[in-house]
Point group: C2
Chain length 261, copies 2
């Protein structure tokens, strides 16, 4: 990773759910030079909290709906517990972290997903991001740590996809300076063979992506992640990579570089 670029790093639930993995990741993240942003999901904690509280997942046509109770739970778990534990840990590692939901300093404005075939409940799609906030954080040596809760500007919090937030914040960061977007997930990168963890495709451009989609080689969970990658590149992000947590500090780590051409 280049020291002079803004790094926007998203970590998935597999890191949040494993305290040793999280600790190791945060140590490496704290050591990254230059301006940086961390985006986190909530892992299985929200599901466990729902279960403890006796709140069942509401489904509609196979899709999860965010009810009033779900929104309260994800706000507590993502913006409260997970975000503050990460911020406190980064502070102990001399990384001056500052937790954000999208409502804080109006960082991410979203709108409730319109009701069409399905009403997803309190789910938000990102409308605008605030690069001024990133800019003043970077100028003051602060590292934003962002959870996947946004707001609609009318006082309503909304549950929002963390991969999308990472992509949109990277686009906002690219208006401040050269930006690298890194998706850390449980695999070493995009795999040619989903059953072979070492079958990492080291580079995918937009033509490759269309071919891989057409051939069915890319599994469905990866498609929206790759859509976010290409969207970020089209809108100004300079570099996008997908890999596991090792990519941020292991020079020999395998990963997939996504590029437009």
């Amino acid at each position: 990773m280049r020291d002079d670029m803004i790094k926007v790093v998203k970590i998935g639930g597999h890191i949040i759910d494993n305290s040793d993995a999280l600790e190791e990741f945060l140590k490496a993240f704290a050591l990254l030079e230059g301006p940086k942003v961390l985006i986190h999901g909530g892992g299985k904690l929200a599901t466990r909290m729902s279960s403890k509280l006796g709140v069942d997942a509401k489904m509609n046509a196979g899709r999860r709906i965010t009810t009033d109770e779900d929104l309260e739970i994800v706000t507590m778990v993502y913006a409260g517990l997970v975000n503050k534990q990460i911020v406190a840990k980064l502070q102990s590692l001399h990384c001056n972290a500052m937790g954000f939901s999208g409502a804080d300093a109006d960082l991410i404005l979203s709108e409730k997903r319109p009701v069409q075939a399905i009403d997803y409940g309190w789910v938000g799609d990102v409308k605008t991001t605030n690069d001024n906030v990133l800019s003043f954080c970077f100028s003051n040596g602060l590292t934003p740590v962002c959870c996947a809760i946004t707001h609609d500007g009318n006082g309503q919090l909304l549950n929002t996809n963390a991969d999308t937030i990472a992509g949109e914040l990277a686009i906002a960061a690219s208006r401040v300076g050269e930006t690298e977007l890194v998706y850390c997930f449980e695999k070493k990168g995009v795999l040619a063979d989903v059953d072979d963890d070492n079958s990492v495709i080291t580079a995918i451009n937009h033509t490759d992506f269309q071919l891989l989609k057409a051939s069915g080689a890319i599994h469905t969970g990866m498609l929206p992640k790759l859509d976010n990658c290409f969207n970020a590149l089209k809108k100004g992000v300079n570099k996008v990579i997908i890999g596991n947590a090792a990519v941020i500090n292991k020079p020999n780590a395998l990963f997939t570089t996504i590029s437009l051409t």
Copy 2:
């Protein structure tokens, strides 16, 4: 309230627990001119959440202990649910709010209360506050909204008294500019007769305080609040008042002014 002073306002649980009262308060708070800070407790939500989760209050010699589970719950409720709902509401009222725990931007460093006769568990006593953070918030038109969770600098979150946090943040703000500290609670001020809501003592200086304490006229819950008031005044805060939510926008509201002499 003077427009040119920094206002540090603490709201108690009676406002948090009543959505109409909270809405009315936030509308008035959003309209306050000049730099301002809001500090909130968690009200009864944390207790209700504990009860839903089957977590019983642990007591030691009549004092509440903050266990691992309690700390998780207060972090979720105070820093997550309550803080983000307030921040989103203030954003909708065109007040550019930014949520904080003490860990965020290292705003409030505390230390675990030393174990003496009682081990209070994960309770923190404030060590230092960061006026630079308040300063850059004010310079950027941001209104800090602070919950009563702090950190020890070693990655540990700590449950901290919200009245104390309000006092300490007012002291930090007084290093930035002239500061007024306002405690909003359920009464109209310090009462001469606890059974008469209109028996507000309009002014209390340090000598009065000693006399009121000696006579037993001040009920025990009020003593630490008044200690915080005098501590703030001694350490540079210019004005301290205690009243109900009306004090921030009703010119004719009764309240108690606390002064050193």
